[in-house]
Symmetry: C2
Subunit: 368 residues, 2 copies
């Protein structure tokens, strides 16, 4: 009996209960009994924030957000006119290829089956940059890519945040009415649930949308459409029947641009004002010191814009003796995004301070 599925072209996705993120759930936050409140500016014991916050209203369109988030393209400026060799995770037609080609307009995009290969390509200098997806605003962090970041010596030299644009792709010339079935990765299906329900067609989950798009094209399948990227349409000569099938505004992917060496920046302080630094560290006294670690930045007026963690694989369990008994806690590597360049004196001082309570501390990169 074959334990391996006999047609491996479009394998079904994992359905195991413990693998994590395969089929993300939709969530709608419920207010507690305390209710959803209007924004409050006061905070007992603290002065109000100086920053002026805007609520994200529905009239702020995806195009507006794209304009806000879109990074300046690397455009190969530091590569003396030759194309930037950009390793990306996935096959041709994937969203990661799309990110690579949007981020570096003059680039050779190099597909990598596994993310590890992209790091290897950097280390072996067969690629100048690697693009890795690190977060989706609806589904959360891509934990294993953060793990790889901490494990490898590559530096973050840039980021791109792109709105997700789930397109309905079909064979050129094929009528929309002939479509009987829609296939895609469960994450894309989850993002487009309402629109798909309205279409009332058969839905099938596959492990790789770009691969499904390729099969569609190569076999001229006319009764099936794939939810995939714009780049998949271009790569495989498909037509885009519909764009932006996703049901939520605010659905963005965040990608890091990696290089072997840290990014170079203008030396003037103004040149670094919109710079962001990502750091990884462990806390010798555990999670309970996180407040103190954050205050190191807070007290120096360095905004912390993201707080994340991954398991501390070198010491996954911390055993503590308190007054009554010994208890155990999971232990973590923390990841912070802070505003400012690592060479900014106040950031430098904060990092020195953080180092005093860290088992290890590493700057993963300063970037815009």
């Amino acid at each position: 009996m074959a334990l391996r599925a006999s047609n491996p072209l479009v394998p079904k996705i994992s359905r195991s209960g413990y693998s994590g993120e395969v089929k993300p759930a939709r969530i709608s936050i419920r207010a507690s009994d305390n209710g959803l409140k209007e924004k409050k500016r006061s905070f007992s014991g603290f002065s109000p924030s100086k920053e002026d916050f805007f609520r994200l209203d529905l009239d702020l369109t995806v195009r507006d957000l794209e304009r806000l988030f879109q990074q300046k393209s690397g455009a190969g400026n530091d590569f003396s006119g030759r194309p930037v060799r950009v390793a990306y995770q996935g096959v041709r037609g994937s969203y990661c290829q799309e990110a690579a080609m949007k981020s570096y307009t003059f680039c050779n995009a190099l597909p990598c089956n596994q993310m590890e290969e992209a790091f290897k390509a950097l280390e072996e200098k067969t690629a100048d940059r690697a693009i890795i997806p690190v977060e989706n605003s609806i589904d959360g962090q891509i934990g294993r890519n953060f793990d790889l970041l901490v494990r490898h010596n590559a530096s973050i030299v840039g980021e791109s945040i792109f709105p997700v644009n789930h397109c309905l792709l079909a064979i050129k010339g094929c009528e929309k009415t002939s479509i009987k079935r829609i296939v895609s990765h469960p994450q894309a299906i989850s993002h487009c649930k309402t629109r798909l329900e309205a279409l009332g067609l058969e839905i099938e989950e596959v492990s790789n949308s770009a691969e499904a798009a390729k099969i569609l094209s190569e076999n001229s399948i006319t009764d099936t459409a794939v939810i995939g990227s714009q780049i998949a349409a271009k790569e495989f000569g498909l037509q885009i029947l519909e764009q932006n099938l996703q049901e939520r505004n605010g659905n963005f992917n965040r990608f890091f641009h990696l290089a072997l060496s840290p990014a170079t920046f203008p030396t003037s302080s103004s040149g670094n004002s919109s710079c962001k630094t990502t750091i990884a560290f462990s806390l010798e006294n555990g999670v309970s010191d996180l407040a103190r670690a954050l205050l190191i930045f807070e007290t120096r007026d360095i905004p912390v814009t993201r707080v994340d963690h991954r398991p501390n694989r070198s010491r996954p369990i911390r055993v503590v003796k308190n007054e009554e008994h010994r208890v155990g806690y999971f232990d973590y590597v923390f990841l912070l995004d802070i505003e400012g360049h690592e060479s900014d004196p106040k950031v430098e001082k904060a990092l020195q301070n953080l180092n005093e309570v860290s088992g290890f501390l590493r700057v993963l990169g300063s970037y815009t």
Copy 2:
């Protein structure tokens, strides 16, 4: 042409680049230039922690840790002698079933294909408890189960933390020398990599180890072994050729026990001293207020033992106008574990304070 793999019995796992946690990477933390330092007890501007921490040494065995972490079994005490009906995620033979049966010795364990079904079973009162896996100490959070927790009204009424015991399972009577191939979920394969390499056999990834164990048994396959749980051996009449194949100490799974109503506790303060409370909240001013939120607990001597976050799906993007331009940040729901019961006056006061800066705040449960 079939887009669906024709033998769906043991589908191959998802290999898509963007689905997240399917094949976790092994990580070994590298020290920065600052080096791995000895534990420091001083912290500029703060008094040293009172707690006495122990390093986890290799002589602390899995058995010791199990003793430390093992929770008192519910044992059906509050169900008047009838078995507790415990819904769990996964099929028979899964690690989640094992957790259910270890946690409630007198129980009817009810398999659920999707985690949503376990929540539904609680809400429809066909189950008294649901067991959900929430974290692995090596691979990290199971984000979608935290999402479900925030979305549903179920309360956390207990937790179990069990060491992972990956067993090599084969047909009874089958000689170890006859095994040519080992199949399992990629997570288990990743946990056992060194031992598997030493065995030098063919390795195959499948989406569901328990299902593979069942197929092995039903088809009396003698050339294949499965890495799975002890309960899978029992459920499908397999022999355990080896136990504890995982290569790391400190590999633990954490499960929450859920019920429709909050847990009841002894009223004496001593009865709540080892109690833990998990809360979910959003921050009106975003991540930069997290330090302040944590200080609410810190200043009241309430230890925060875990800080996590999930995307804030009701507002995934926060747009901020700073001095120069408008920028966007991803926005989150934060999840904290704090020590103490929600009805403890100092916890109650801290939660009132936190509520002042939270868009929403919900106590997910107080439990031991």
